[in-house]
């Protein structure tokens, strides 16, 4: 997929670019409003990761520009402003999602993947990963054509891993994805372990491979290598 990262904070832009650049993605970057507008005027992207507070202009105007020109690029707004106003305005203007800073790169990746998947929707909204097949509408998982029951959190975690395959996903990121701000992080690590244990067990029992590896006690990595 082809992604444009519009972010004026160099450190963050570089990290996102490094995280997204890989086997299936091409990344371009813009560091201010003018260069971002120039890029979206000429090229089309699967998803644009857009910061709102930019030098020389407001990121919302880029969303407007896309809309006015009937460009169908996916847009994910990232902003330090957690104001509902901005969120609603952004979504009303045609942005697909809104993520508040600070966020984990894995969360960003998962959101971007979801947007791109929705955009390239062709007939059936199914996600296939080797022998695992996920019906995103019905939230049902099949392994080797046999239905496997997952709880809501397990299902969410499985999708999160697939979106971040090949990457080490930290426990912090997993906890935040599953529980948001509602539980203290330190409480969660045991629960993460038991959820992951369940996912592995269910996949293996259905005849699938064990794709989840523990990564040096910091997190987990979903890999088909």
């Amino acid at each position: 997929m082809k992604i444009l990262i519009v972010e004026d904070e160099t450190g963050l832009r570089d990290s996102i670019e490094a995280y997204f650049t890989g086997s299936d993605s091409i990344c371009e970057t813009a560091n201010d409003f003018t260069s971002a507008l120039a890029k979206v005027s000429v090229y089309r992207y699967d998803c644009i990761i857009l910061d709102l507070t930019l030098p020389h202009g407001n990121g919302l105007n880029i969303v407007k520009h896309l809309k006015e020109n009937n460009h169908n690029d996916g847009v994910l707004i990232i902003s330090a402003k957690d104001s509902l106003d901005d969120r609603l305005t952004g979504l009303d203007l045609g942005a697909d999602d809104y993520l508040t800073k600070p966020f984990h790169l894995s969360e960003l990746k998962s959101r971007v993947t979801a947007i791109v998947r929705r955009r390239s929707f062709n007939g059936s909204n199914n996600l296939k990963f080797n022998e695992i097949e996920i019906d995103l509408d019905a939230k049902a998982v099949k392994v080797k054509d046999a239905v496997v029951k997952f709880t809501r959190k397990e299902y969410s975690l499985l999708l999160y891993f697939i979106a971040n395959k090949g990457k080490v996903v930290s426990k912090s990121a997993i906890a935040e994805h599953l529980w948001g701000d509602s539980i203290d992080i330190a409480d969660n690590f045991d629960f993460i372990y038991s959820h992951i244990k369940n996912i592995r067990k269910k996949l293996v029992e259905a005849g699938g491979n064990d794709y989840i590896q523990a990564a040096y006690g910091m997190g987990y990595k979903f890999t088909d290598a």
Partner: protein, 415 residues
Amino acid sequence: MKLFDKYNRVNIAVTVVIMLVTGIIYYYTISHILTNQIDKDLVLEENEIFSYVNKNHRLPDVYESNHQQIVFAPLGDKNTARRFLDTTYHDSDQKDLEAGRALISSVNISGQNYRILVTQSKVETEDLIQIIFLITIGVIVSLLVILIVLNRVILKSIWKPFYKVLFQLKEFSLAGHATINSTPSNIDEFTELDQAVISMAHRVKSDYQNLKAFTENASHELMTPISVINSKLDTLVQTDEFTDRQSKLLNDIYGTVTRLTRLNKSMLLLAKIENGLIQDNQDVDIKEVIEECLYQHEEMIHQLNIKLVTDLRDKHLQANKSLVEILLNNLLSNAIRHNHQDGELSVYLDSEKLTISNTGEGSFDFQQVLKRFHKSDGSEGIGLGLTLCKQICDNYGFKLHYLHNSQTHTFSVTF
């Protein structure tokens, strides 16, 4: 003591003293003048006796006139000094004693000295003085009454602007939106007071606004560097293999960054609520929010083997959904985290009230934990949880109560 009472007390005391002193002076002056008048009458009588004696060379017949008696007594060779004196007067008709004034004098008739005693009754004089005294007392009393009433009326109306300003000051709240209105007055002091109060309120409010704006901006600005740290960490863990020691360090950093983020988010949220920046009211299904919260905590409830009792009726509110979520999540999260193994948690919701009770050790001072950054011993939180709850409740006019009895903590929110 009210200014009015104080003023009245001083005023009345001074008035009474002045009136009394005036009355006394008045009494003596009048008394002196009237006595002089009587003395003149007595001298007149004496002269009449002298002229009679000169003409007839004998004492006049003694007759009793109204309020006047004349008595002659032979003195022989002796003489007597002429003098006035206060004495008693024997009224022959009424047989009683009256105050009187007498003149003692002497006359010589053919070598024989006679003492003359002319006595006159002072009863009319006394009556006159009494009437004057009564009138004076009447004037004093009516003057006092008029003074009190007048003071009350005038002071009330004069001080009205003052009380208005005072009332506004009492109602003044930093966080409130009400401003202090100008109170017009034609009294310079009150106009000055009014202006001083208005400018002070304005200054205090703007200082407070600046402080709040600073908190909000500072929290805001912090979000960007935190997100850079976060993303760098995420990138770092992709790079290479790590030793146990390194991964332990990385975990600690992750945990700390998360805490920092939460702290910052909470401060930002507090500032926003205080600034009244959170509006976007929508219909919130309280029951649904509670159920979602409990679902989020299911692992913890399961792990502690907490017995969960719920009785949730339908309840909808007009509020900002994320604020309600934070409120309920904080309360439920506390009730679960501070519970003990095999404890109990009950959640009751009806249209008026949400009650969350949990078993748990110890007790705490509710007012104390409402303070910012207050942490109980062994708490892992950032000490803003209940402060936020209180702030959210205040924002929507809910009442947050805490009750503790033998091992059970109960929080209730009255909508």
